[in-house]
Every structure is written in structure tokens, then in C-alpha cells.
Amino acid sequence: MEPHAPPSNGRGLFYVKELVTLDTERQMTRQMTGAKMVVQALKDQGVDTVFGYPGGAVLPIYDEIFQQNDIRHILVRHEQGAVHAAEGYARSTGKVGVALVTSGPGATNAVTGLTDALLDSIPILVITGQVPTFMIGSDAFQEADTVGITRPCTKHNWLAKDTATLAETLHQAFHVASSGRPGPVLVDIPKDVQFASAGYTPPEKTNNTNYQPQMSGDIESINELVEALESAERPVFYTGGGVINSGPKASKLLRELVEATGIPITSTLMGLGAYPASGKHWLGMLGMHGLYEANMAMHDCDLMINIGARFDDRITGLIDAFSPGSKKAHIDIDPSSINKVIKTDIPIVGDVASVLDDILKVWKARGRNINREAIANWTGQINEWRKVDCLKFTQQGKTIKPQYALKRLEELTKSHDRYITTEVGQHQMWAAQYLNFEDPNRWMTSGGLGTMGYGFPASIGVQMAHPESLVINVAGEASWLMNMQEMGTAVQFRLPVKQFILNNERLGMVRQWQELLHGERYSHSWSEALPDFVKLAEAFGAKGILCSDPADLDDAIMEMINHDGPVIFDCLVEKHENCFPMIPSGKPHNEMLLGEASTQGAIEAGGAVLV
């Protein structure tokens, strides 16, 4: 333990102050220490799991955790792991994920996870310990300016300086994290505030009036959108993570709208599962590594309906050439997303579920009109694009193609109650392309920040939330090593997470860019001195499986699924496979590279497809 320096002011370092108040109302509120308030507030907010790592500045809170059984604490092996696990928990449940870390290094280790959650709009609460208030600013042991450091990487943060307002701050933190555009929040709690006592404010007495984002969309704009939808000849839905963040109702309404109108739908990486991959109108993912038909539809459409996506640069490619002929509608709960990158003709600020509900109502009331004939032609065109079969690959010889590995994984796990997380790189894009998602909250990946090391701890968070489900982290060997210490967590808590590593012994995505854009100079993009993953698994007390022969793949995957415990699956794959399709950076959608899948037909269909 790291004791703080003795107090210099003679007040006693960690004094416990019993508040005696004669005020009758205050007497009704329960008196408790700040540390106990933390646990009580978490319980009152319905939290059942906390991912954390102890240290001097959070010991009073750990003491309270020790003395109760309602909240399960998962001891991670690195604070970054705690935050990603909380993210995985949040994404797979729709609830706020919670991480608890100590001051100084504990807090700075949480920064990557906070930034990741900020960019992907994931509701999490990180509670950090801080040195006692009277030592703040003195460069005390393990002091860091946590609220200063995390200000730009949280939606909001608080330094809780007073036990009397701590409970209210924690409840407000939950409110801010989960309402409007969700995001990460942080509450920094000095150690003396944890020790002192005050009255506990329950959630229902908390004042949240300061932050009330607009939920329902402007009805005039909604009417305008419905009118555009009725007459559109080549409409497309472009959906994103906002649909999933809005909740299951949003996905349900989206499906209803798509089925009723017959309008084709694509999604960003973050939005996969909101509309089922098996759905008739599904175009697949769009963007830099999106499907040919999805990107072509975006480029050639006359009405683009953006629902909870944000025109990210991985989606738009060259802005000047982005969908040049279309009218654009944009539904987003965050007004700053609208007109940030792409000029919008019909902006609608509001919650996706609420706006979709209104769109459906208005559209039905106006007689369910749609330009059927034009949309049939449009669907015909899209079907021509589909024929390019941009994800085609051939598995031959003795080496496993990564695409083949994922295809088999999909085939053998699709009937399971399955959750997928990923790391970052080629494997992530292949997972998005070759795995099919039928429901929201089943796909957890680091989209905005692209954080290598996300997937493994996230899979732990998901497994905690869904103990009976099959949780698979599709990983690259390099990313996986970034948070491999979490094997200890998986084994300790008997979390049967499956680490499906597509091992190409390369920083594959970096290697691909070097091949395509940097004259094939492969500067530091290979994985040397890799561990023997099977032995590594065994060293942690888990199971390791090595597979290098396509003929053994199915049996090996089945062995992984059937093993009741964590597994590291070392799948040796083709080392120099590139991920296609690819829109080279700064190129328009219709100049997509199809790589090995390119065909004569593609050139005819696309007109300008580079080969």
C-alpha cells in the first residue's frame, strides 16, 4: 500500500465526521460515508458489476465493496482493461458500464478507454480516487490532475469536493452518461471525501434539470422528409451507432420502416445489427472497407437518409465527390453532428426511436406512398452491383485465408446466442464483412478511435453481462498482445471468452497501407518474437488451440466452442492477404478497389472502378 504523507495541518488525515443536524428533513436522509455513498449510488442506479483495480486513493471504497454482495467487482489486470470491459458491458446491455480505479497512474491508464468511449458514444462511468482535498495541488504521491487530463476525453467530469453533494453528483453522472448522445463521464473523489460522512441523496431527489437533450424531432422537418421519401427514385438508408444507442425500440422501428418502404439500407461499422444481415433490403456495411453495392448505392442515390451516423471520414471518402446527386436528411440527437462535415438538406435533431416513430406515423397517415416503380428499378440496379460479389475469395492450398476462417466461424456459431468483439486491423474489417449480425448490441468494436487492445477486455465485459452466451473476440495477434494481461482476469473469474486470433504475424492493416501507399516499404509492420499462444494459454491455466490447416479448421472451431472456459485460438493465416474492397483515402465511393475480387463486370457496372 502507498500511504500518503502525514497531514501537515494537524487536522488528521482521514477524519470521519459525524454530521449532527437538527433539521428534520436532513435527519430523514441517511447519513453515511462518501465511500458507502459510492456503493449505495451504484446499487440505486441498478449497477450489478464494476470493473476495477484498487490503490491507495480508493481504499475506502474497496472497503465498502468488501462488505456487501450486491455489486460484483471484477479485478482486471490493467486499468485500460477495466474501461474497455465497462464499454463491452455497456454496448452489449445498453446500460451504463462502470469502472473504478485509483488516482494518478490508475486514472491515466483509463484515458484511452475514456477516449474510445467518447468517440463511439458509449455510456460509461469511471470513478477515480484522488489525493485528499487538502493535498490537491501539492504534487502529492500519486496525484494527477485527473479532471484536467480527462476533460477533453469525457462527455463531462466532476471533482467531488464535498461528501454532502457526492451522491447527487454520482446520480447526475449516470444521467449525463446515458441521456442525449451517450458518452463517458468521470467522477474524481478525493480520499477525505470518501471518509467523511453526510446525508445520502437518492436518485429520485437528484436535480437533473440542467441537462435535458431534445428527444423529439421537429415535425415540419419530419413532414419534409416523408415527402422526399414518397417521391424518391433512388433512396437509401445510411444508419449508424445512433440507432443502437437509441435502444431496441429504434431497431424495431427501423426494421418496420425498411420493410414497409422497401428502401435499401446500409450501415456503418458501429451500426451493424440494427437491421438484420439476413434482411431482404440489406446492402452490407459501407465505407472504406464497405461492400461495393453499399458504396455504389450511396454514391448514386437521390435521397440519403442518415439515421444516427455522423459522416465520418471512413465513410465519406473524398467529400467533394461524396454522393453528389442526392438530397440528404440527417437524424441525430447531437446538433453538432449536423452540417459538421456534409451539408444537410433536411436536418432533424432528436432521438432516433422518437423520430422514426413520427416518420412512420406521418408516412402511414399520408397513405403509405412510395415511388414503387422507381424503387423497383433502383433495386434492379443494386442487384447488378451485388453480382460483382465483392467479398468473393478462393480458399485453396494449405494456408488458411482469413476470410475463410471467418466464414467458417460464422457458419459454426451463427445458431448460437453469440456476441462478437474485435480488436483493430484487417481482422476487424473482415469480421465486419464476413460475420452476420441479426440483432443490435451483438457487435462490439472500436470504431471511432480504432483502439488496438479493445477487444479482449471488451469480451470480458460482455461475458460478465451475458454469462451463458458465446462471446468471441476476433483478434489480430498484434492487437491482442496489447491487453493480453487480461487472461488472468478471464481465468480468475471463469469467463469462457474465446480469443479467435487471426495470426498473420503482421500488423496487417499497417502492412497493407505500406504496400498500397508507401511503395512497399514495410517499416516495422511485422510481429517478431511472438509467443507460443498455446503455451501462453496454458501458462495462464486456460486452453490453447493452434490451427494452420484449412482441413482442420472446423474441428478446431468446434473444440473452441465446446470448451467450457477461456480459449486462445491461434489461427495461422495467410500473411499477405489484403482487405478489399477498399476506397483509398481521399477517393470517391465509385473509385473503390476490389482487389482480387475485381472482375470485368465491376468495371462495366461502376464505370470508373480502378483495378
Binding site: S336, N339, E515, G519, S585
Partner: protein, 187 residues
């Protein structure tokens, strides 16, 4: 690599060459931002400007409602219309921000700034400085036999003009408050 028709050895390809084709006319706007007066709120606002690469031409802040603990931040910023819209929307996202007003577009507004200018000199220059101060309705708030401190209020342009005139007359130091602004009328 054949597919991209990029020559071996070339390097100048970036993913971030993606500027949109919005208008690039630079406009100056005065924004009034009403915030909770809590620790760190100014850092949030300033951090937003620096983090997202926006300009701050002038910034003033003070508590305006001592019971409600509200502060008003007046910020003069410059950018294309699209950037100004973004700044307002991004300010609106900050949790302790209550209101964002663009005084430049929300009808007529009064803008005032206060400045103190120290001017040292003797003889004709000293007389001329005093004469000009009179024309600009600047007050003398401190005086020695070799110097004056003038206090002047007005628009930023008026203060710029006064400072320019004082420069050859012995301007030593300037302190400016930055702009405070309110919309005209009863609302």
C-alpha cells in the same frame, strides 16, 4: 502497387485530405455563452476552441447572477459560416452551458470594451495626447508630470484607433478587458 497506379517510392497520400466544399468567407461573430459558474467551466470552453482549432479573438468572463451562480462568457471568434455554426453547436454540447447566443446574427447588439493606456511624454506630445483623449472621450485616471493613464470605453475598433494614435505620442502599455456585449431592445 498496380491497383492504385501509385509509383513505387511515392509518399504523398494521406487519408485526411478531405476538406469539404463549404464557403470559405471568414466572418467575425460575437457569442454570449451563459454557463454554470463551476470550477473548470472556462477550461472546458477554452479547451473546446483549442482542441478543435477554432479562433478566439477576445474573451471575457464574469459571474452575472450571484444567486444562480451563472457566468457569462463573451467570446469573439472568427471562422467560415460553417465553422461558426459548429462552434455554437459544440458549445451547446458542454453540459454546464445553458445558452449560446450569436449576437452577430440575433439582431442588433451593443459591444463595448474597456482599455487602460499608459502614455509617457513631455511637451507637445503630452499636450497632443491629452487633446486626442478629449476627442475620444477618454478619461485621465492617473497622471504624473511625465505620464498619463487613460481610461477609454467603446467598440474594439475605437480602442484600436485610439491606441494607434497614442503610439507615436509615447504609448508605454495597454490593458484591455475584451468585449462585453448585449443585444439591443427589451428582450
Amino acid at each position: 502497387m498496380a491497383a492504385l497506379k501509385i509509383k513505387k517510392g511515392s509518399t504523398k497520400h494521406s487519408a485526411y485530405n478531405l476538406r469539404p466544399n463549404f464557403s470559405d468567407v471568414q466572418e467575425s461573430h460575437t457569442l454570449a455563452v451563459v454557463v454554470d459558474n463551476e470550477p473548470g467551466v472556462l477550461a472546458r470552453v477554452i479547451g473546446l476552441f483549442s482542441g478543435r482549432g477554432y479562433n478566439i479573438e477576445s474573451l471575457t468572463v464574469a459571474e452575472i447572477d450571484h444567486t444562480g451562480h451563472h457566468s457569462r462568457i463573451t467570446v469573439v471568434t472568427k471562422g467560415t459560416p460553417q465553422v461558426i455554426e459548429q462552434i455554437k453547436a459544440q458549445l451547446g454540447r458542454i453540459v454546464p452551458v445553458h445558452e449560446v447566443h450569436d449576437l452577430t446574427v440575433e439582431g442588433a447588439a451593443v459591444e463595448r470594451e474597456l482599455a487602460l493606456l499608459k502614455v509617457a511624454g513631455a511637451g507637445d506630445k503630452r499636450v497632443e495626447a491629452l487633446r486626442l483623449a478629449d476627442i475620444f472621450r477618454a478619461n485621465v485616471v492617473d497622471s504624473t508630470l511625465e505620464s498619463f493613464v487613460f481610461e477609454i470605453t467603446g467598440t474594439s475598433e475605437k480602442i484600436d484607433a485610439f491606441a494607434d494614435l497614442m503610439r507615436p505620442l509615447g504609448l508605454v502599455e495597454v490593458a484591455r478587458t475584451g468585449v462585453a456585449a448585449l443585444s439591443r431592445g427589451s428582450e
